[in-house]
């Protein structure tokens, strides 16, 4: 079976035919996110669109690969509702899409074979199995462009960090057109989400299309003119490697990074992985996110990820990992007492619900207290960030309330220092 190569800078476009979405969607999504492909279209048997509309959607999507996951013969029967629009819409596409059929059920495979007959297809094991997902990821990565190398590097970084620090490590990477979350444990489960095309550069307009302009604008600590903001986003999306030269564009970049990480995490939630990503002892920030500066990068990680346990945050700087800060989430309904033990001694901080501030400590720090998961973290130059904001983080709707709230968070860390 020949590989379909995506062009340079263009991720592999994949359409999924979810004949048994309720059973398999979570596993299918997990495989696609790990492969780092662009999910061009998801068609389920419950889709309300007509036959013609489904076929047109598939033709417009121009998928390089179509993934079909089936659990049993019943799924094979339901596949007809989706495979016929595929035959009608994409049979004439050049090059024709490849089909990956993920199923271990002979009856399902037998039923699907004639339905998918115009296309070259390969059968891999059930998507619910580790082997099936691994095979899908491998096949999809074979057909992807040079971005796979970065995904591999990030996964290697997460593994090395987890082993070196003997605890779960999470790498958050944002580039112009991709956002990755990779979590590894020293010797255990490994999860990766490479969301494309979500990024702060070429993928900026896709973030706005997906999240909405208001959700991007809400992270900017002043009132912003929406049409002008959209102009900036569009120009940024079409300008290779645009560099933020002033306060407005720096704030836009931070806002886009917030939504990029937030949506990658939302994708992870669909795949059943969000909780795992929120729990890591070491958080590594890299790519454009690291280039924002440690203050802004830590703010983005805290706001978008909403970690649930204390973590050390480090920034990738070339080959080195530079400590930036440590974060201590505090879950409290009114007030909590956080105990911080460092080389300098033990101190206690009274923390009100909603508080967000930095404690000036350095080196290895033990934290404990009510509403705090006890643990040891390493504080960097930024110190120890105490975060007792309610979860999930909800921003006020009205600018008169939102602006001072967001500005207070920026000020607490010194993010957007050029202001």
């Amino acid at each position: 079976m020949s590989a379909t190569l995506a062009g340079p800078g263009r991720p592999l476009r994949v359409a999924t035919l979810d004949a048994q979405a309720s059973l398999l969607e979570r596993h299918t999504r997990r495989a696609l996110l790990a492969a780092g492909v662009e999910i061009a279209l998801t068609l389920s048997a419950a889709d309300a669109r007509s036959f013609g509309e489904r076929a047109q959607a598939l033709r417009d999507a121009r998928p390089d690969v179509v993934l079909v996951a089936l659990a049993d013969r019943g799924g094979g029967d339901r596949l007809a509702l989706l495979a016929e629009p595929l035959r009608f819409g994409c049979a004439a596409q050049r090059p024709a899409p490849r089909v990956i059929l993920a199923s271990s059920d002979d009856g399902a495979i037998a039923r699907a074979t004639p339905l998918l007959s115009p296309f070259a297809f390969e059968v891999v094991p059930d998507v619910r199995t580790e082997d099936g997902r691994r095979r899908i990821v491998a096949r999809l990565r074979e057909g992807s462009g040079d971005e796979v190398a970065r995904d591999d590097a990030l996964e290697g970084l997460a593994r090395r960090t987890a082993e070196a620090r003997r605890g779960p490590a999470l790498v958050i990477d944002v580039t112009g057109s991709s956002t990755s979350l990779v979590r590894a444990e020293p010797s255990g489960p490994f999860h990766a989400v490479h969301a494309r095309p979500l990024g702060t550069g070429r993928g900026a307009d896709r973030i706005v299309a997906r999240a909405g302009l208001d959700r991007v604008a809400r992270w900017i600590p002043w009132v912003v003119d929406r049409p002008t903001l959209l102009e900036r986003v569009f120009n940024r999306a079409r300008w290779p490697d645009a560099i933020s030269a002033d306060r407005e564009t720096a704030a836009l970049e931070i806002a886009l990074a917030h939504e990029a990480v937030g949506h990658a995490l939302a994708d992870a939630a669909v795949a059943g992985l969000a909780t795992a990503f929120r729990s890591a002892r070491t958080i590594v920030l890299s790519g454009s996110l690291a280039a924002l500066g440690p203050e802004a990068a830590v703010l983005v990680a805290l706001d978008a990820l909403e970690p649930i346990e204390p973590a050390s945050v480090v920034i990738e700087d070339g080959e080195a990992l530079v400590p930036a800060a440590s974060v201590v989430p505090v879950a409290t309904s009114r007030r909590a007492l956080v105990r911080i033990t460092s080389e300098a001694g033990t101190r206690e901080e009274r923390v009100d619900r909603g508080a967000f501030f930095v404690v000036d400590v350095s080196g290895d720090v033990d934290v404990s207290g009510s509403g705090v998961t006890p643990g040891r973290v390493t504080a960097g130059p930024l110190g120890l960030v105490i975060d007792a904001r309610p979860r999930p983080l909800v921003l006020p709707q009205r600018d008169a309330e939102r602006v001072p709230t967001v500005a207070r968070w920026y000020d607490a860390l010194g993010a957007l220092a050029i202001a």
């Binding site: 013609g52 047109q56 009608f88 102009e231 120009n235 300008w239 290779p240 030269a245």
Partner: protein, 316 residues
């Protein structure tokens, strides 16, 4: 990229449900119909192979009509036997659009007709249900993003200079079927007025992104893309917001005014169907600078340099 006279292959994508298309080798002019068909929505599934007692693979032998063909209610779609005939008939007036893998027949009502027209003069190089590719020689200018359906018409200047915005007051029905050249900016008001006056398309340095959302909907993005419905056609040449055109782009536009032209939105290209000697390609390539606040694009000075300055043909 900048102005270039060359041989181009232009892919004209077809919607699903193509009933007829120009075969490979056909000589076409810009504006000629390359393919036509009907919008397919809901289909009626007519029992085919199993109903008339043949295998799906053999159904082709006994089909009386082929996809995509018009049928009347009661038309025989497939039939077997002589004295004790078994037949599949159409339940509606419409088109037989598809035969399923199981040998059933999909008949769709014709709710809307579409036509795809060539955007250049040339020869059909490839023709299938997905696309018709036409190859021909003409002038071309690569833009940044195109929106709406392809447009064909005479090129006409609608501004006095490359830094002028296209004012809605300068657009009237006398500009019907033309491709208007705006300067630095075309606002949503100008786009919608042009469409209402029957203008084929509008080309300018930039369009406000918010205006594009007003015209094309909230899911519009910076890459643009073709549509087949009745909407305005807009080609942004260098950016969004405001984008005064550099002389390397503007001067040939002035020289080629009055010639037949087209906008191919899928590739974001302006084609001008004029002979090579009609003008000369600019000697240099323009340098563009993204404004510090990223809200506009402008020509950079010749010796301009900086993080957000690019040379068009080097990186785009």
């Amino acid at each position: 990229m900048t102005w270039r006279y060359a041989r181009w292959s232009v892919e004209h994508q077809l919607p699903v449900g193509c009933a007829a298309r120009a075969p490979a080798g056909t000589q076409v002019r810009a504006g000629d119909v390359l393919g036509n068909g009907g919008t397919v929505t809901r289909v009626y599934l007519v029992g085919g192979a199993r109903h008339i007692g043949v295998s799906p693979a053999d159904l082709g032998r006994v089909l009386r009509v082929r996809p995509v063909a018009s049928v009347r209610r009661g038309s025989i779609l497939a039939r077997t036997g002589r004295r004790f005939a078994r037949a599949a008939t159409s339940p509606i007036d419409g088109r037989l659009v598809h035969v399923t893998a199981d040998g059933d027949l999909c008949v769709s009502a014709v709710v809307d007709e579409w036509r795809v027209r060539s955007t250049i003069d040339g020869v059909v190089e490839r023709s299938d249900d997905a696309a018709v590719i036409v190859t021909g020689e003409c002038w071309s200018l690569q833009g940044l993003a195109g929106y709406g359906p392809d447009a064909i018409g005479d090129l006409a200047l609608a501004v006095d200079g490359p830094a002028d915005p296209l004012a809605p007051t300068r657009i009237d029905v006398r500009m019907r079927d033309r491709i208007l050249v705006g300067g630095a900016r075309i606002a949503a008001e100008a786009v919608t007025r042009a469409h209402a006056c029957g203008v084929a398309g509008v080309v300018a340095g930039a369009a406000p992104a918010g205006g594009l959302r007003v015209v094309y909907g909230d899911d519009v993005d910076a890459s643009g893309g073709p549509t087949f419905d009745d909407r305005p056609t807009v080609l942004c040449l260098i950016g969004f917001g405001s984008g005064p055109l550099p002389a390397e782009i503007w001067d040939p536009l002035v020289a080629l005014a009055g010639e037949r032209a087209s906008i191919h939105t899928a590739s974001a290209r302006l084609f001008v169907l004029a002979p090579a000697e009609r003008t000369t390609a600019p000697a240099g390539v323009p340098k563009l600078a993204l404004a510090d606040d990223h809200a506009s694009v402008r020509p950079a000075a010749d010796d301009g340099a900086g993080p957000n300055v690019i040379s068009l043909d080097a990186q785009r």
